[in-house]
């Protein structure tokens, strides 16, 4: 579990862990994601901080954090931020965006937060075509509470609440957020990526940029589902966790650009479905 006691924000204290670079929007607060685990939250937070910095939109961004390990992000990125109740980030973001339509509103959520307790809020925010962007880290477990089953856990996956492996009879089948949201006309951009290689990080970067672009072009709801590892929750070494991600998880959750209505998409009717990442231009293949 992340160390919740180390969340003090000491302005100016640049830590090694966060790898703050000059010009980056990291606050410099030391990351408290499980140290040495290779937890994807760390690299994804850093990526998002870099993207916001690069776009020069700090003055416009309002970040909505979730409950879960993922909530750490509100401490690490130097933008206006709100912490939402568990699962309600897209509802909170809706309230913000409707209040301040010219701001860039981003939610950052884990799969317990988004796909379990918060699925209604996400579905309806997407249905309404809410002009917000969601960065969704799917690590197939509840990280913060100790590695319990999430709706996204694989069949057979051992978690602290499925000690004998997830049984479809008992707990249903893995839940595919990106595929489901793609069907909703209100979504303007839907992609699934990973962070397990330099190439995949580049794709994730591009996807987040497109998602923000979709929002800034007023096209609708945008979401990037990022497949990540939680070695501590999975009880694996970082190395085994990455192998598991590449061999098992990405098989269940293919990395794909599902929908891209940036620039054009007839009102986001779902016709913007564009299929798998093409593999050219540094985009893939992703494993």
């Amino acid at each position: 579990m992340p160390d919740e006691t180390k969340d003090r924000e000491a302005p100016g204290a640049v830590s090694e862990a966060s790898g703050k670079k000059p010009g980056s929007l990291l606050t410099g607060v030391a990351f408290t994601y499980c140290p040495g685990s290779g937890c994807t939250h760390g690299s994804l937070n850093r990526l998002l901080a870099g993207i916001i910095g690069e776009l020069g939109i700090r003055s416009k961004v309002i970040l909505v954090g979730p409950v879960g390990c993922a909530e750490g992000i509100v401490k690490y990125i130097d933008v206006d931020a709100v912490e939402a109740p568990h699962g309600r980030a897209t509802a909170v973001a809706t309230g913000i965006k409707r209040s301040l339509p010219d701001r860039v509103v981003i939610t950052y959520q884990g799969d317990g937060d988004l796909a379990a307790i918060g699925i209604a809020e996400v579905m309806h925010a997407a249905t309404r075509g809410e002009r917000i962007s969601t960065v969704f880290l799917n690590n197939t477990v509840f990280g913060m509470t100790g590695g319990q089953m999430a709706p996204t856990s694989l069949i057979g996956q051992r978690t602290t609440t499925t000690p004998f492996g997830r049984d479809a009879q008992l707990s249903g089948m893995p839940f595919h957020v990106a595929e489901i949201l793609t069907r909703l006309p209100g979504t303007a951009y839907v992609a699934r990526t990973a962070m397990n290689s330099t190439a995949n990080v580049a794709v994730t970067r591009e996807a987040i940029l497109r998602a923000l672009e979709a929002q800034m072009q007023d096209r609708g709801f945008s979401i990037v589902e990022v497949m990540g590892i939680c070695p501590v929750g999975w009880k694996m070494t970082p190395r085994d966790a990455n192998t598991h991600l590449a061999d098992q998880i990405i098989g269940e959750y293919p990395l794909q650009l599902f929908k891209d209505c940036v620039g054009s998409c007839d009102g986001g009717t779902g016709d913007g479905q564009v299929g798998p990442w093409t593999g050219d231009g540094g985009r893939g293949p992703q494993g």
């Binding site: 006691t5 180390k6 939402a84 309600r88 309230g95 301040l100 860039v104």
Partner: protein
């Protein structure tokens, strides 16, 4: 003075607009769906008007949380089951010290209950409806006109104290049409330098602020408190515990300040045979009960709490000082009696009359119940 004949619901909705609240999120529920129906067209009059029918009360209160965080005057309105769903959100709003307004037009309960008006959510409204021991500044109007004034005041106090506020009413007042004026409303706003609006040329704002405090670990806390948490956390930083303590002390201090400054009440009549205590819709019926009792040769006075949190405890103690007996009337099974007992002390007998399944209690019904209880020297609590 211009007067309009309006239902409580609609007058309330118009009052929120006049108070400068152009941000509504809600989910329909009887007996107050007209609030959102009214605002669905009314808020179109304003370029900054935000009206959104949410997918649930859970979503609605969290949208309010977002809008309030963004610095807007924001509100929602609901009834029993919907208010229950909002409790987690209200706890977050209270913990984040965000101003907003929530109206509860009570129906009957528990469970789905019925759509008749009642006061059965008194305990939920005045204690800590959700987790964490927070309070809502809660105003309970007894007429449609008073609802208009208290609504405007509620927004002001919510911002002044940085707290969610509640208009606590019932299905009867929601549906009652009365002449009402919106003239001379005093709208007071407070600056919101803490709002998240995008960090444009300033340090960033974070909500809730306490858990990311840039204050020194020891600010505002006595050395013993600090030492206690430092000892508890051993080598790790004590900051999260210290900040949690600081938040709860801040809230407790705020509630004490409210109790001192914001308790509101009214005393009607000057009879000394006994003191009648009632709030909201039923208090206005009790005004007529005073006359009914006078016809029976009994001279009573009525104490009407206007704020039910903070409860006007000291004022009630003063009002009860000269009488031997107190009689409480509520549209529930006696949820306010604890507060009355605390105010009047252990010795004074308290009688009670109430009905729980909705509908207005009639003057004669209350009068007879009271005279019967007086004759039997009946003590409820």
């Amino acid at each position: 003075m211009t007067r309009h004949l309006m239902k409580g619901c609609e007058a309330f909705a118009e009052a929120t607009v006049r108070a400068g609240c152009h941000c509504f999120f809600g989910y329909p529920i009887t007996p107050q769906s007209e609030v959102m129906e009214y605002l669905s067209w009314r808020l179109r009059d304003f370029p900054d008007g935000v009206f959104l029918q949410a997918e649930s009360e859970v979503a609605a209160i969290n949208m309010v949380y977002g809008a309030a965080a963004a610095g807007r005057r924001a509100m929602t309105s609901s009834s029993g089951p919907g208010i229950s769903l909002m409790q987690e959100g209200l706890s977050y709003l209270a913990g984040a010290e965000l101003p907003c307004l929530v109206a509860n037009f009570c129906r009957t309960g528990p469970g789905l209950g019925g759509v008749e008006g009642s006061q059965c959510d008194y305990l939920q409204a005045t204690r800590s409806g959700g987790h964490g021991g927070y309070r809502l500044l809660t105003l309970a109007p007894s007429t449609v006109q008073e609802m208009v004034h208290l609504t405007v005041l509620a927004f002001e106090l919510a911002e002044q104290y940085r707290t969610p506020a509640m208009i606590f009413s019932d299905g009867i007042l929601a549906q009652l049409a009365e002449p009402v004026s919106f003239d001379d409303l005093l709208v007071v706003t407070h600056p919101k330098p803490w709002a998240v609006t995008g960090a444009d040329g300033r340090a960033r704002n974070r909500i809730p602020r306490h858990f990311f405090s840039e204050a020194s670990e020891t600010d505002g806390l006595d050395p013993e408190t600090v030492a206690r948490y430092r000892a508890m956390t051993g080598k790790g930083p004590a900051t999260p515990l210290i900040e949690a303590e600081r938040l709860n002390l801040t809230l407790a201090e705020k509630y004490r300040r409210m109790a001192k400054e914001e308790a509101r009440w009214e005393v009607i009549g000057d009879g000394t045979d006994f003191l009648l205590v009632a709030f909201g819709t039923i208090a206005r019926v009790c005004e007529e009960v005073l006359d009914w009792l006078a016809g029976e040769g009994i001279r009573a006075r009525l104490f009407r709490p206007i704020t039910i949190f903070p409860f006007p405890s000291e004022a009630l103690a003063r009002a009860a000082a000269g009488v031997e007996r107190v009689h409480v009337v509520e549209m529930n099974e006696g949820q306010m009696i604890d507060d009355v007992r605390i105010a009047v002390g252990r010795e004074k007998p308290i009688g009670f009359y109430g009905r729980t399944a909705g509908g207005v209690l009639r003057v004669g019904e209350i009068g007879r119940a009271i005279t019967g209880a007086l004759a039997r020297r009946e003590i409820h609590a």
